[in-house]
């Protein structure tokens, strides 16, 4: 479903190459994890997939179900089924969380030629999904992410994911800044969305998130390349020995 081939990306404003040929195939229903030291290009990968400005793709391709992602603007990628859970979710003052969600859901439905949800229909679904993430009515009314704690922001991302029902979910360091309980809650939210068809790309520094969201494949990324791929045991290896051994091994 997600197929990335020889993806090479630099910054738009300066002459700096960040991704130096990424290859990644994620099949339907699979969970892949990308781990790697700071500055290895993990977040850049997620931004480039989602279509953020400021990057220049110099070679390679990225396709979602055969659709060329790199040729679409961000909202088209979203409607095609790509979701990015942000590492730092943005605050939007004055815009109620519920209004934001409903606008997003209906924008995607419209783009796909589906009928928009009525206020009543929407409310029913959002309440149900919010409940399982322990998001209360008050948090739904508050402006998007304004004054939310770290845990609340991440739970809110997962709520958006649940409402938008994407095909491919990219989670960019969703565990950063979370305590153990909050992380469990987020992981449960993610696991609830695993239905055998939906695929996940989990970007993280630490193995601990992968205790809760069990990956099928783990990739180690360094200096803009995937240098090693393996099963869940690879994450445990990193946890024990750090990245140094693996880096030395491939060097």
């Amino acid at each position: 479903m997600l197929s990335i081939k020889n993806l090479q990306v630099g910054l738009e404003e300066e002459d700096k190459q960040i991704l130096k040929g990424i290859n990644l195939e994620i099949g339907e229903g699979e969970v892949h994890a990308i781990m790697g030291p700071n500055g290895s290009g993990k977040s850049t990968t997620s931004y480039v997939l989602a279509g953020k400005d400021g990057y220049k793709v110099t070679a390679g391709s990225a396709e979602l179900y055969g659709n060329d992602l790199l040729d679409m603007n961000p909202e088209e990628r979203a409607a095609a089924g790509l979701f990015l859970a942000f590492q730092y979710p943005v605050e939007i003052p004055g815009v109620g969380n519920m209004t934001f969600l409903r606008t997003a859901v209906n924008a995607q439905r419209k783009a796909r030629g589906e009928e928009e949800l009525s206020a009543g229909q929407f409310l029913k679904i959002v309440r149900e999904k919010a409940k399982s993430l322990k998001i209360d009515a008050d948090m739904l009314k508050r402006p998007v992410n304004v004054g939310f704690s770290g845990g609340e922001k991440k739970r809110n991302e997962i709520l958006q994911m649940a409402m938008l029902e994407p095909k491919m979910c990219v989670l960019d360091e969703t565990d950063s800044g979370l305590d153990v309980d909050a992380m469990k809650l987020v992981a449960e939210g993610v696991n609830a969305l695993r239905d055998g068809k939906r695929s996940f790309l989990v970007i993280t520094h630490y193995q601990r998130l992968l205790d809760h969201i069990k990956p099928d494949v783990v990739h180690i990324m360094a200096d803009g390349r995937i240098i090693k791929s393996g099963g869940p045991e690879l994450a445990l290896e990193v946890e024990e020995n750090g990245y140094a051994d693996i880096l030395a091994e491939v060097a």
């Binding site: 400005d53 995607q108 402006p143 938008l164």
Partner: protein
């Protein structure tokens, strides 16, 4: 004083996209009716002619002539942060009315020229006595809006007159009021905005042609929203209307005002005066959605909107609330003010001013605290895009007798793109040491990260900008009557169309 011009962060495409905005003004059509003009230019005879056309009493003419004499001695103000070519006051028509309105005035709306009625229908303003403004979902229970429609220099008609009369409310054009209730007009006109208050108000005093008159008797809560809809149609014509609203003791009224004009290459002048008189325990809520033609993306054409609006809270516990959504005009110069004379009287000012392309807005309010325990609140949201300049200018004045008076001011500016400017110029005068004045100001930009976040969730760019900007304006949109709030929200989105790329 905070003063900043945005520089970084937004793409060059932004500016390019802003340019695509022109031609999107929805109300730019003109109505093809035969117009009767007064001779071009301004002199004493024109003043006499306008008074004569309205069949005014002698004192009104005298008053106009006095104003005209004083105006000739006055100079156009230059302190505002706006820049426009010098206006040639002799190159304007001061009076224009559709021919069908001249010889014999239509007795009822049924007799009005269908072309005129069609114009208002096209603008979404129902002159038939239907319950609601077009395009608005019916709220709980039936609500009615009475409309006075002003076309160029004359009032075309006023709806729901009968029903209002039963409640004792007088709502008619000021030219009719001069015939039917001259004593009321004489008592209050110029009592809030004196004849020679400022250059444009004085000009208006001399040449005002029509406008709305509202009188709410003691203890009456006006049974429906009242509204006036101003339409400039004729070319090269100034619109000078005068609105006078009197709320007697313990009465209340909510009044709405809307404005549009055809898309023309030559700038047109609009210099109105609005006077509100609020007596003991009375309340007036005055809302404006101003959507005059803003000119094209190069600043050609558009309306010069130089307006004097003032409320006088004469009685104790009188209350006034100004709410304005300013999206149009090439140049706006407007400071709806509150004179808080009565003890415990209250003034509120909520404003959204959007300037895109080459638009310039210098707007704000004056809160003059004269009485004890008077309270005022100012919430101003300025949004600039394109090459527009947006200035908030406000005065809070606490007079020696205004003990325990309080003011709270909040001024927020939002910048879209890197060629626009936002300016905040607050003047504060405190002559009573028990008074308290608070002022908060912020300047922010529509952030690329916010837009990317919205787009990643599936919204297109314009939807994203509209969402962020409506969030920014929320406090003011909430202050509008429901009928207008939805229209205003849509208008915010329309006037920023193409402001980011």
């Amino acid at each position: 004083m905070t003063d900043m011009i945005a520089k970084d962060g937004v793409e060059a495409e932004t500016v390019a996209a802003v340019k695509s905005l022109s031609g999107k003004y929805k109300y730019g059509f003109s109505t093809d009716v035969e117009i009767e003009y007064a001779p071009l230019g301004l002199n004493e005879n024109i003043v006499r002619l306008i008074s004569d056309k309205n069949e005014e009493p002698e004192w009104m003419l005298e008053w106009r002539l006095q104003a005209f004499e004083r105006w000739k001695q006055m100079k156009e103000p230059e302190w505002a942060m706006v820049d426009y070519p010098k206006i040639n006051f002799q190159d304007i028509y001061y009076y224009a009315r559709p021919k069908s309105m001249s010889e014999e005035k239509p007795k009822s709306l049924d007799d009005v020229d269908p072309k005129l009625l069609e114009t208002y229908a096209k603008l979404g303003i129902p002159l038939k006595e239907q319950a609601l403004l077009a395009g608005v979902e019916a709220p709980e229970g039936e609500r009615k809006v009475a409309v006075d429609a002003v076309f160029d220099s004359v009032s075309v008609g006023t709806t729901f007159q009968k029903e209002l009369k039963q409640a004792g409310v007088i709502f008619m054009s000021i030219s009719e009021a001069l015939k039917e209730h001259p004593e009321l007009v004489k008592k209050y006109i110029g009592s809030v905005v004196p004849q020679s208050d400022n250059f444009y108000a004085t000009l208006n005093s001399a040449v005002f042609s029509d406008g709305s008159f509202v009188y709410i008797p003691e203890g009456v809560k006006c049974p429906m929203e009242l509204s006036t809809y101003f339409r400039i149609n004729a070319e090269n014509t100034g619109q000078f209307e005068r609105t006078l609203i009197i709320a007697e003791k313990g009465s209340s009224v909510s009044y709405l005002e809307g404005c549009t004009a055809p898309q023309r290459d030559v700038a047109q002048l609009h210099a109105a005066v609005v006077e509100l008189v609020i007596l003991e325990d009375a309340e007036i809520k005055y809302s404006t959605v101003q959507n005059w033609y803003p000119g094209d993306e190069n600043g050609k054409g558009g309306i010069y909107n130089f307006v004097t609006k003032r409320a006088d809270c004469r009685g104790d516990r009188a209350k006034v609330m100004w709410t304005q959504v300013e999206t149009g005009s090439a140049v706006t110069w407007k400071y709806p003010s509150c004179i808080l004379r009565g003890d415990y009287s209250q003034g509120e000012f909520y404003s959204i001013a959007i300037a895109n392309n080459m638009q310039q807005a210098d707007t704000g309010t004056k809160m003059i605290h004269l009485g004890k325990n008077t309270k005022s609140r100012i919430v101003s949201k300025g949004i600039s895009a394109g090459k527009a300049q947006n200035t908030y200018r406000g005065l809070v004045s606490m007079h020696p007798k205004a003990s325990n008076a309080r003011n709270y001011t909040q001024c927020d500016s939002l910048l879209i793109g890197d060629k626009c400017g936002a300016h905040t110029v607050p003047y504060i005068e405190v002559k009573n040491n028990t008074a308290r004045v608070e002022h908060e100001a912020t300047t922010s930009k529509v952030d690329d990260d916010q837009l990317f976040y919205c787009r990643q969730r599936g919204m297109d760019e314009e939807e994203a900008v509209a969402l962020v900007v409506n969030g920014f304006c929320k406090e003011v949109l909430q202050a509008l009557p429901m009928e207008f709030a939805m229209e205003a929200q849509a208008l915010v989105a329309i006037s920023l169309e193409g402001s980011v790329g």
